[in-house]
Structures are given as C-alpha cells and as structure tokens.
C-alpha cells in the first residue's frame, strides 16, 4: 500500500476540535436508534394490519362454517373432543390474527415511544 506523503502531512497538520469529534461520535448512535425506532414502527404497523385482516377472516370463516354446517358445539367440544376440526382451525386463524395484532401493537408502540423520546432529547 502506497502512501502519498503530502496528503499525510496535510492530515497531520489539520486541527479538529475535540468537541466536534465528541459531537460526531454522539450523533451516530442517536441516528441509529431513531432508525431502529422507525423500523420497529414500520414492522409493527404491518403486523397490526395483517393481524386485523387475519382476525376478521377468522371471524368470517368461523361464522360461515357454523351457519353452513348447522354446527352447534361449544368451546369444550371443539378443544377436548375435537368435535369439528374445521371450526377449530377457523378459531386457530382467529387466534393467530389476534396474536399478530398484539405483537404488532407492542412493537409499534415501543418504536413510537422510542422515536418520541429521541425527538424530545433532540429538542433539549
């Protein structure tokens, strides 16, 4: 690796204030935290919307299955006696949707709170 001697001299001569370096070092992680918060919000939003859609699809499927089959089984029959596997699977869809919404909401809210903290710290 060849080094240009004049450039090296120039760099050595250049004086950078210590405060500027410290500020630059401090800004870098803040930016990454803000980006992280933003990405959490994006991810959370996607999961929330997916959760909504899946839950409603589960509701519609469960109702349609019940109305079509004249199904008259309660939760105990479904869970412990496996009375109607299709109805159980529609309830599974409902559960997955709810879980996705829950995780998405938590992720989104955490990201939004982080972002808010960052912006309030920047304002200070």
């Amino acid at each position: 690796m060849k080094i240009n001697p004049s450039a090296t001299v120039q760099q050595v001569d250049m004086w950078i204030p210590l405060e500027k370096i410290e500020r630059a070092q401090a800004v870098a992680p803040v930016e990454s935290r803000a980006q992280q918060a933003e990405s959490m919000q994006r991810r959370g939003r996607k999961m929330v919307i997916a959760g909504f859609v899946i839950t409603i699809a589960g509701v519609v499927a469960y109702c349609a299955a019940t109305f079509a089959g004249g199904m008259n089984v309660d939760m105990g029959d479904l869970l412990f006696r496996n009375a109607d596997p299709f109805a159980l699977s529609t309830l599974g869809i409902l559960g997955i949707g709810t879980l996705s919404w829950l995780v998405g909401s938590l992720t989104y809210l955490r990201g939004a709170m982080d972002a808010d903290e960052e912006s309030s710290q920047d304002a200070k």
Binding site: R45, V59, V73, Y108, L109
Partner: protein, 394 residues
C-alpha cells in the same frame, strides 16, 4: 434513602394524576361498551355461535363492573364534572347507556344462565336508573338558562333515551309477567314503555333529520352515535317481538296484537331504511372527506346497532314465521362481530399503551413523565385518552 422515597412519591403522584385526568374526561356514554358486547353476545347465542357467546358474556360482566367502578370513582373525585355532564346537551343523554347496559346484561343472565332472579333484580335496577335519567337529564336540559343552538346541541346520542326505554321493555317481557302475578298489569306496563319509546323516537328523529337536512353538516358532525338512528328502531322492533311473545292468553294483549305487529314491522322497516343512508354518509365522511379512523369510546355506539339489528331481524323472522330473515340476521352478526373486534382492539391498544407507559415510568421516571402522544397504526388508538373532547357531534 430519601432520594428513593421522593422518586417513589413522584411516580405515585404521576399515576394518580393520570388516573384523575382519565376520570375527569370519562364519557358518560362509556356503558355503550357493555351494551354492544352484550347484544353481540346475544346475537351469537341466538344464531348458534356457541363458542363466542360465553366469552363475550364474561367480558361483558367484567366490563360492566369495571365501568361502574370508574363511574362511581368519577362521582367521588370529580363531582363537578359529573354534574356538568348531566346538564350538557351533548353529553347528558350518554347517561342513558347505563340503563340499556343493565337491561342487556339482565337479558344475558336470563338467556344464558337461566337466572330469572338476577334478571329481575337487574330489571328493577334498570327501571330505577331509567326514572332517574329520564326525569333529571331532560328536566336539567329544559331548565338550563344557556342553551346551545339545535345544530350544536342535538346528536344521535339523544336516541339512547329511546334505547333505554325499550331495553326496560325487552327485559321486562322476559322476567315481569311471571313474577308480577297479574299478567295483564305487567303487559299493560310494558306496552306503555314500548309506546313511550316509540313516541320519543318520533320526537327526536324529527329534530335529528331536521338538523341533517337544514343545517350545515361537516364530516366531524357525523360521529358514530348517529348509528343509533338505526339502533333505536331496531331495539323497538325487538321490544315489539318480545311483547308479542309474552302475551300468553292475556285478553288485553290479544286485542292489541295486530297493532303491535304492524308497528313492529314499521320499526324494522325504518331501521332497514337507515342502513344504506348511514353507510353512504360514512363513506362520504371517511372516503371522500378523509376523516381518519381513530379509537373513540363512542364507536361502541356503532357496534350496538349492528348487533341489535341482527337480533331484532332474527326475532322478527321467528315471530312472523319468515325464515328468510334469518339469512339477513346471519349477515349482520358477522358485521357486528367484526366491528366489535376492531373496536375492542382499539380499546386494548389503549391499555397496551398505558401498560408500556407505566413500565417506562417505573424504569425511567424522568423520560416517561411527559407522556408521549403515540398514534396507533391504521385505526383505533388515541393514546392521549381524549374521550372527553369528543362529546358527540357538534
């Protein structure tokens, strides 16, 4: 040691301040959540959705108790706000939701748990609340010196008074004739309630329709309680079918039967007429005028009419022996459950927010003190808990 003690005091102060603010802003119509959950649960029961109705029943029992606790705490902590709501044209009629929620819960106990005793006790309590609300809210609104204009004062929430009156009639039909001893007297009283409710609807809907068509109407005016325009006639239909079912061999009821049947049909037709109208207005509000969805306790006032329409249509189909109406009831129960889920998620998101805020306040007291205002994606979180600001349409 001293520092730790002062931090602990600071945290508890923040928590108590937050709770106090929430109580101050609590909307009197919060019982609409219990009404909506109860009626969706009854719709599920009638239409054979046996997995959902017990779940919704227990959620309703819990919610009903919790809302009463919050309401009593509000009376104790903020008596002025409580009384000021009582005389408010926008918020006062919201107190009628307590009557309807009590009667819907009573119906659930009678239908699901076969507990007519609890049903009767709740009917008595509902009747008491109805009398208190009717003869204090309307008197207070009448004698108030400074009154808003019609455009500012009236909103769909006023029709909760009709819902409350008809709810007393519906539960009464389930528990009163067998308990009172005199079936004619019971049916006379309940028919009077039904007719009073119908009369109130005609008065109020005339004013609301007048406000719709002759005053400036902005998207923000079309709040969810406007769906009660439909819900109030739907519960009137249900009350009519309940009366027809409770008549037995009563000579009074037999003579009134054709009249009750005719008016029940009239109420159902009116409820059905409202649905496309409210849908189109909703599309105009959210689709054309781009008003975003955000969680508001008043959205429970939208869930209730869907559930009630499903129940009343099913009961009307049974009473008039028209099985094709069951299909309509089934369609609306799906809509009602979906609307319930979305609104419940909105409420849950608010609790999640509070939970996260509290967790951060405990771990980093200085950071969480300001309480960042976070908006939930897509729909349904208004983290700043500003239910008070939306006291119905202006």
């Amino acid at each position: 040691m001293k520092a730790a003690a002062s931090t602990s005091v600071g945290r508890s102060e923040r928590v108590s301040r937050y709770v106090s603010e929430q109580l101050l802003n609590m909307h009197p119509a919060y019982f609409a959540m219990s009404m909506a959950t109860g009626i969706v649960s009854i719709a599920c029961f009638l239409l054979g959705l046996r997995v959902l109705f017990p779940l919704l029943f227990w959620i309703n029992v819990f919610a009903y108790a919790l809302i009463w606790i919050a309401m009593i705490a509000r009376v104790v902590v903020h008596p002025k706000a409580f009384l000021s709501d009582w005389t408010s044209h926008q918020r006062g009629p919201g107190y009628f939701t307590s009557v309807a929620a009590t009667c819907v819960l009573g119906s659930q106990f009678v239908l699901f748990r076969h507990e007519p005793g609890i049903g009767f006790a709740l009917w008595g309590f509902g009747l008491f609340l109805w009398a208190v609300c009717t003869y204090t809210v309307f008197v207070a609104l009448s004698i108030r010196e400074e009154k808003p204009s019609l455009a500012d004062g009236i909103n769909g929430g006023w029709l909760i008074a009709v819902v409350a009156t008809q709810a007393v009639c519906v539960l009464g039909c389930q528990v009163l004739p067998d308990r009172l001893g005199n079936r004619d007297a019971a049916l006379f009283l309940l028919t009077s309630f039904w007719l009073c409710g119908g009369m109130l609807y005609i008065w109020m809907i005339s004013l609301i329709f007048y406000r719709y068509t002759f005053f400036r109407f902005s998207p923000s005016d079309l709040m969810p309680p406007y769906w009660i325009n439909m819900g109030a006639v739907a519960i009137s239909t249900l009350a009519g079918t309940a009366l027809l079912g409770a008549t037995g061999d009563s000579p009074l009821a037999a003579s009134l039967r054709p009249f009750v049947r005719g008016f029940t049909m009239l109420f159902w037709a009116t409820a059905t007429w409202w649905i496309p109208m409210l849908l189109v207005l909703g599309i105009w509000r959210h689709g054309v005028k781009r008003v975003p969805f955000s969680y508001n306790p008043l959205y429970w006032g939208l869930v209730f009419p869907f559930g009630m329409y499903s129940v009343c249509t099913y009961r009307l189909g049974q009473t008039l022996e028209l099985p094709f109406l069951t299909w309509l009831a089934r369609g609306f129960v799906i809509v009602a459950i979906s609307a319930w889920v979305l609104t419940f998620f909105g409420l849950l998101a608010r609790f999640l927010y509070l939970f996260l805020l509290a967790a951060r306040a405990l771990s980093r007291p200085s950071v969480a003190s300001s309480g960042p205002a976070v908006m939930h994606p897509a729909v349904l979180v208004q983290a700043s808990a500003n239910s008070s600001s939306s006291g119905g349409p202006s």
